[in-house]
Every structure is written in structure tokens, then in C-alpha cells.
């Protein structure tokens, strides 16, 4: 039985300090919260870097930083957002929610779980320490060779490599842990096809991490050898091949994009049904689409290299075109879930709808890049910057905030304030569109990405100024969220076990859950065990609404 009746921890007679407890914990819920807190701190840091970048670009001329610092800023912004914010945010959500949602007591390897987490702040500190040792890495998060070779870049790049080796190892360990947990620790009755969609997305994501990240860590290790021991893997001056780096990097880098979006899609697939009071529309199609994205995700990497002249274009163009289809399926499933539902707009649902309306743009403006000739025009321009931010900010970050508002009552027993949440949502949605939509237009006008300055004659000034204003709106939008968390944690913990009328097992235990999570579990006969418990298992097949109402009254 995966249900644990007694918490062994409760029998301890000695007390530990709270700090010691947090530093040494192996409880998946505490580690999850550590992940989320750490990611949020790095989110603030990366956001500050972004504000400096946007301030510098607001008008022509170098006002605040020189070009060499500018290159460090966007390199650290990108690397931090991807490896220290988005990935660990999602890993943190997975850590917190997956064992609860499958009715497990903890992750399969609790100590490895703690190790995976603690590598992250260490890696982050190492990477940022470059600023104090002659400059951080400055080659972009893609770190193309030969620019990343020792003769063109400083020791910040070595720190970047070592940090990414740590973070990569952390991800690999984490993914093995998730897979073992999901395959071995599911509660009785929780078959694969009864798992919540979020668990499915974490599972597929973990497979992607397990297959892709070792290629990346090998790549950065080879780069380290190139830089420090005269290896010749990627430097053509000594017989190496710079395209090899790009192939290795993107073989990881593209699945990474799906690693960063799939769990966010999973969150949306939890939030939209609960707040529409309907099951997810087309559960199996949704799972199939997730698997298809994961599979196809490994055959599209070279679409990042269409302009290198070293790629067989039609193949990667075809696979990239096809990967739009499963994403489309998901969109229609989400909308059909809301269709004829009874939707309430608490903050998690607002962020979910924000995700749908914003991520859509990131899907469409990326789909057009599957065409190599169009990519010849738009590659490495601000169109790409618009695309990546509509996907990762309009998509993943909105998903992360939806999850934060959704699971906060479970984590801390108190609901975040709805009024502050709505202010946060509205400002962030406006800021996102104002900042990132004009980037498409700049890309069409030919503004390359990663330039510290542009000529006043280029005609790019107005749009850049607008984007800078938008970026400050985003920054301001985070303040009500932080205030909300602060105030709520000082207030009463009165959210109750199931504040949203949820469907999945995490809402069947107390808020916050005790160590080892469950005293007993409801029977699991569908992907919505708690819904079945509250409304009756029969309700999953379109009961006439009158009888549903009776059932509900009986339950409450």
C-alpha cells in the first residue's frame, strides 16, 4: 500500500530549529517550496537584468552600460531564466504536486531529491560570480563556438560551464526521480490513464530531460576541454567544427523548449477543468498530443540552424511544421473544456486564460519559422525574441503563476488575496503584450537581436521605447504578488482542504498536508477521484443536471 497511516517523523522526541529543518529536509513538499522560492529569487534577479537591458535599448546611444557588459547582461538573463527560473519552477511544482496527485508518500529517492535542489543555488552563485572575476559569460545562452573559445571570451564562460554542469546533473537526477516516482509509487487504482494531466506532462518532460540533458552536459564538458586543455572539438582553427556544437546544443536546446512548456500546459490542464467545473475535454487525445510533442521534439532541433547552410532543410522544415498539430489539439481541448462549462474567474483561472490568449501568439509566430525561406528573413531578429518571450513568459510564466495561486492554499493553508491577484494579472497581461508584441514588428523591420545599440536613423526608436515601458509594467506587476504572499502568510490559515472544489488527490488531504501526505485515500476510478467522491462516479458520464444537483446536495 502506498498509503501511509502514520508519519514516522511524528515519533521523534527532539526538536530541530526551523532553519535546520529546511536545510536538511527530504520532504518533497518542503523541497518543492525550496525550489519555488529559489526560482523566484532568481526570477527577480533575471528580471532586474532585463530591466537594465530594456533601459539601455529605450533610446539610441549607450547610456547605462557598455557593449561588453550588455552582452553579459542578456547572456545571464537568458541562462538564468531558462536554467534557474523556468526549469526549477516547474521542477518545484512537480516536486510538490506529483507525489500528492498520485497518492504517494514522497518522491522515490528523497535524498537525491534534496541533492538535486541544492545543486541549483550553488550553480547559480557560481555563474553569477563571473561578474566579480572579470565579467560573466557574454556569448548568449547558446554560447556558440568559436566565440566561446578561450581566445575570444573570459573566465566567466568557464564559470558558466561549471554551473551548467551542476544544473544539468541536477535536472538528470530530478528526472530519474520523477520517473521512478511516477512508475513505482502510484496509489492502488491510479493507472497510467487515470493520472492527472499535470503528472503526464511531468513524466514526458522527465523523459525529455533524461534523453536530452546528457547530450548538453557532454557538450559543455567538451567546450571546457576546448577552452582549458587545448581540445579541438568546436574550434575550426585547430581542426574542430563549430557546427558540431550547434547540433549538440540544439539536440538538447529544442527538447528543452518543450521541457519548459509541457508542465505549464499540464498546470493549465488542471486549472481550466476545475474552474470550468467540467472534466478535461479529450483526456486521451491530450495525453497523445503530449507524447507526440515529446517524440517530435527530438526531430526538429536543426530549425535553429536554418541559416547555417549546414542543414538538410526540407526534413527539419517538415518535422517542425508537424509539431504545430499536437499543440493545436491542446488548444482546442482547453477551449472545449471551457465550452458550456460554468467558469469562475479566481486568479488561477485568470492566469490560465492569460496563458491561452498569449501563448497562442507564441505558437503562431513560431509556426511560420518552420518555413526555411521565412526563417532566412526573420532568424536572429527581434521576431525570435518576441517568439521566445510569448512562449516562455506569456506561456510558461503565466502557467507558473496560475499554479502558484492554485496550489498556494494547499502549501500554506491560506488563499492568496483575490483583489491583489487580479491587479497582478491585469498588469502582467498588459505588460507582456506591450513589451513583447512590438518585437515582431522590429524583427520585420530588420532589427537583429543581441545588439547593445542601434542607429537613430534605423527607425526602431519608438517601438523600443514602448517595449521598455512595457517591461516596467511587468516589473511593477510582480510587486502586488510579493505583497500578497507576505500578507497572506501573516494572516489566518483558513483556506480549508479543498478551496477550489478540486478533482485530484492533493485536495483530499489537509492543507498543508502532513508528512507523508495521506491517512487514507479515496477510491481511484477515474482521473478525477475527488470529484467522484464528492459527486459520485456516475457523474463522469453526462448525468442530467437535475440528478447531478441532487447528488451534490447529498455530498455537501
Amino acid at each position: 500500500m502506498a498509503t501511509t497511516v502514520l508519519a514516522p517523523g511524528a515519533t521523534r522526541t527532539y526538536r530541530r530549529s526551523a532553519l535546520y529543518e529546511w536545510l536538511t529536509t527530504t520532504d518533497h513538499k518542503k523541497i518543492g517550496i525550496l525550489y519555488l522560492t529559489n526560482s523566484f529569487l532568481f526570477f527577480l534577479l533575471a528580471g532586474l537584468l532585463a530591466l537594465v537591458i530594456r533601459s539601455e535599448l529605450a533610446v539610441p546611444g549607450l547610456q547605462f552600460v557598455n557593449s561588453s557588459t550588455y552582452n553579459q547582461l542578456f547572456t545571464m538573463h537568458g541562462t538564468t531564466m531558462i536554467f534557474l527560473v523556468l526549469m526549477p519552477f516547474l521542477a518545484g511544482l512537480g516536486n510538490y504536486a506529483v507525489p500528492l496527485q498520485i497518492g504517494a508518500a514522497d518522491m522515490a529517492f528523497p535524498r537525491i531529491n534534496a541533492l538535486s535542489f541544492w545543486m541549483l543555488p550553488l550553480g547559480g552563485i557560481l555563474m553569477f560570480s563571473g561578474f566579480f572575476f572579470g565579467g560573466a559569460a557574454a556569448e548568449g545562452w547558446t554560447s556558440y563556438s568559436p566565440l566561446a573559445q578561450a581566445k575570444y571570451s573570459g573566465s566567466g564562460t568557464d564559470l558558466w560551464i561549471v554551473a551548467l554542469l551542476l544544473i544539468g546533473t541536477s535536472s538528470i537526477l530530478g528526472s530519474i526521480n520523477f520517473l521512478a516516482t511516477i512508475f513505482k509509487l502510484r496509489a492502488p487504482g491510479m493507472t497510467l490513464l487515470r493520472m492527472p494531466v499535470f503528472v503526464w506532462t511531468v513524466m514526458v518532460t522527465s523523459l525529455l530531460i533524461l534523453l536530452a540533458t546528457p547530450v548538453f552536459t557532454s557538450g559543455v564538458f567538451m567546450l571546457y576541454i576546448d577552452r582549458n586543455f587545448g581540445g579541438a572539438f568546436f574550434d575550426p582553427a585547430s581542426g574542430g567544427n563549430p557546427i558540431l556544437w550547434q547540433n549538440l546544443f540544439w539536440f538538447f536546446g529544442h527538447p528543452e523548449v518543450y521541457i519548459l512548456i509541457l508542465p505549464a500546459m499540464g498546470v493549465i490542464s488542471e486549472v481550466v477543468p476545475v474552474f470550468s467545473r467540467k472534466p478535461i475535454f479529450g483526456y486521451k487525445a491530450f495525453i497523445f498530443a503530449t507524447l507526440l510533442i515529446g517524440g517530435l521534439g527530438f526531430s526538429v532541433w536543426a530549425h535553429h540552424m536554418f541559416t547555417t547552410g549546414a542543414v538538410y532543410l526540407p526534413f527539419f522544415s517538415l518535422t517542425t511544421s508537424l509539431i504545430g498539430v499536437p499543440t493545436g489539439i491542446k488548444f482546442f481541448n482547453w477551449i472545449a473544456t471551457m465550452w458550456r462549462g460554468k467558469i469562475s474567474f479566481a486568479t488561477p483561472m485568470l492566469f490560465a486564460v492569460g496563458f491561452l490568449s498569449t501563448f497562442l501568439v507564441g505558437g503562431l509566430d513560431g509556426a511560420i519559422l518552420a518555413s526555411p525561406p521565412v526563417d532566412f528573413a526573420l532568424h536572429d531578429t527581434y521576431w525570435i525574441v518576441a517568439h521566445i518571450h510569448f512562449v516562455f513568459f506569456g506561456g510558461t510564466m503565466f502557467g507558473v503563476f496560475a499554479a502558484a495561486y492554485y496550489w498556494f492554499p494547499k502549501m500554506f493553508g491560506a488563499r492568496l488575496d483575490e483583489g491583489l491577484g487580479k491587479i497582478h494579472f491585469v498588469l502582467m497581461l498588459i505588460g507582456t503584450w506591450v513589451t513583447f508584441f512590438p518585437m515582431h514588428l522590429l524583427g520585420l523591420e530588420g532589427m537583429p537581436r543581441r545588439i547593445a545599440d542601434y542607429s537613430p536613423a534605423a527607425g526602431w526608436t519608438d517601438l523600443n521605447t514602448v517595449e521598455t515601458i512595457g517591461s516596467f509594467i511587468i516589473a511593477i506587476s510582480v510587486l502586488p504578488f510579493m505583497w500578497n504572499v507576505f500578507v497572506t502568510l501573516r494572516g489566518p490559515r483558513d483556506a480549508g482542504d479543498d478551496p477550489w472544489d478540486g478533482y485530484t488527490l492533493e485536495w483530499a488531504t489537509t492543507s498543508p498536508p502532513p508528512p507523508y501526505n495521506f491517512d487514507h485515500l479515496p477510491p481511484i476510478r477515474s482521473e478525477r477521484p475527488l470529484f467522484d467522491l464528492k459527486y459520485g462516479h456516475g457523474a463522469r458520464r453526462a448525468l442530467p443536471s437535475a440528478s447531478v444537483a441532487t447528488t451534490q446536495e447529498g455530498a455537501s
Binding site: 547552410g309 498539430v325 471551457m338 467558469i343 514588428l441 453526462a542 444537483a549
Partner: protein, 353 residues
Amino acid sequence: MQLSPRVRSVVTVAGLAGAVLLLGGCSALYPPNAASSQGADIRTLYSIFMVPMIAIFVLVEGLIVWSVLRYRRRKGDDELPVQTHGNNLLEITWTVLPTLLVLVLFFVSWQTLNKVDAEPANPAVTVDVTGFQWQWTFAYPQYNLSYTGIGDQGPVLVLPVDEVIHVRLHSNDVIHSFYVPDFLFKRDVIPGQVNNFDLNLKDAGVTYTGQCAQLCGMGHYQMRFTVQTMTPANFQAWVQAEQAKAKATPAPAAGGQAGPTLQLSASSTTSFDETSLSAPAGQPFTVQLTNKTAGAPHNFSIKDASGKVLFTGLPLAQPGQTVSYSVPALPAGTYTFFCSVHPTNMTGTLTVK
């Protein structure tokens, strides 16, 4: 419909605002008119893609807005909605139709790709473009002409219209990318690999700006150049005039100039090895510049405090070369010496006393 008048007016206003935005933003949603026939093909392809993209955008955003407004949970409504789990026909439809759509778009795009990447056998003009940190060299091997960029604006690439131009891309150091927004085209410039493309330009007497599109270090943002088009006849005249000018330019005078000789060297594109020099006032002197950088040329130039350039050292010192520049007499004072190829970052102080 069960919509309240308030909701209906919101829908109407949102719909109108959306339509106005789309129409108003329409020209901004398209790239500039292309200067080359290849770019025109790409622009047409982009326009084809935009039709389903805008349609899907309007459809999906419309469905989201509709669901949000229409299916709100009313206060006090505790009844469960009908628990729909799926609909096979719908799901098959929205799987098959998008698949067909992307396959069609893929084939259309493949046709354009073949046109854009076509390389006719006998180009009229071949240009060797060499990128290095952080300038370009444009060479015409058949005319024995070569231009390396100096200053902020980089070199000028003069090209004829109505003829096939063959461009070969070389890099001396890191990866760059040759990008002219008005061509709607870029191609990476990669060390150890020569990339090619062909170009047919349409309008003579036009100037286009271009710049490097692949991050290549601290000077990436100012790795600019200009393309200037001419009629074929004017282009031939320009070639002959340039060839005559090249012959008329005397070879650099041999060393042994009057005055002291200062030694200067450059091992990278970020700075000179020496950042301060001093020379006697009122007396010519010689600067011997040794270029130890693998990929890029350098030179020695002087400007005064106001930024006025007093001396530009030519020819450039190519990698591995040592070149002596005879500098005329300067009054006492403090000057800035710099490399014209890397004017922003390769600077030093010249004290004349």
C-alpha cells in the same frame, strides 16, 4: 442568445477594436518590400502563411473570449454543467485539418526554398565577403578589388542590378551572419566553411543598410555595412575607375622615415597591446604597427580631443604584417590614437611633448 445587453456590447466593442487593430497593424505585420527577386519570393511566401495565421488567431482568440463571456458561472449557480468528456468527430477534425494545412504550407514553402536557394551556373559578378571581429571585407576577385570597412558605418558593397550576383561568405574568426533586411535574407558566415547564395537586385541607385546578425562579441552591434546598387553600365564604369585609382595609388613609402620610431602591436580585436605612446612635438615620427591578431586587420590613426581625425594610417596592417606609418609633425598636447577598423574599443593615449 442568453447574453445580457452589457455583455453583448462588450463583445461588439472588443470585436470592433480587434478588427481595427488588425487592419491598422496590417502593413506593420509585413516585412518591407524586397530589393531582390529572392526576397520578393520570400515576402510572397510570408504573405501566404499570414492568411491562415491571422484566421487561426482570430478564430481561437474569438473562441476564448466567447467562452469566457458566455460560460461564466452565475452567482448562486451550484449546478454542475454537463460533464462532457470528448467528442471523437470534433477531435478527429481538429487533428486532420491542421495536419493537412501544415503539409500544404510545407510544400509551398519547399517550392520557394528551391527558388531562393537556386544558383545559376554563370553569375555575372562574384563577391567574396569576409567577416571578422567587427568589420567586413568585400572583395571582387574577377576585378582585383577589395574593400575593408573602417569607422562606424563599415564598407560599401557596390552591386549591379538585373544580373546574377554570386556571394561567397568567409569568416576569419568567429561566426557572423550577413544580413540585409531589405533582401529579407541572411546567411551565416562560418569559419572553416564557405557559404554561398545568389542574388538578383531590382532597383538601381538605391542604398541598403546591412549588419551582422549573429552575436560575435563586444563590437557585434556596430558591425554594419552598406549596399549600393547601380545599373550594369554604371557598375562597369565604377569598376574601371576603381581599378585605375588602385593603380595610381603609390605603394607605401619604404621605412627609414625621419624622427623616432614608436613600436605598437595588437594581439586581439579588443585593445592594442600598448595603451599609451609618447612622441616629440613639432617633429614627424614613425609608428611601426605589428598585427599579431589571427583574423583581423588593424591600423594606426589619430584624433584630437574634439574627435576630429588628424591622421589615418593606410594601408591596413593585415594579420601577421608589420606596417610603418609616417606621421606628420603634431603640436604638443594629448591625442587619442585608435584603430580605424575597431574605432570604439581599440584606443590609447598619445602624448606629444
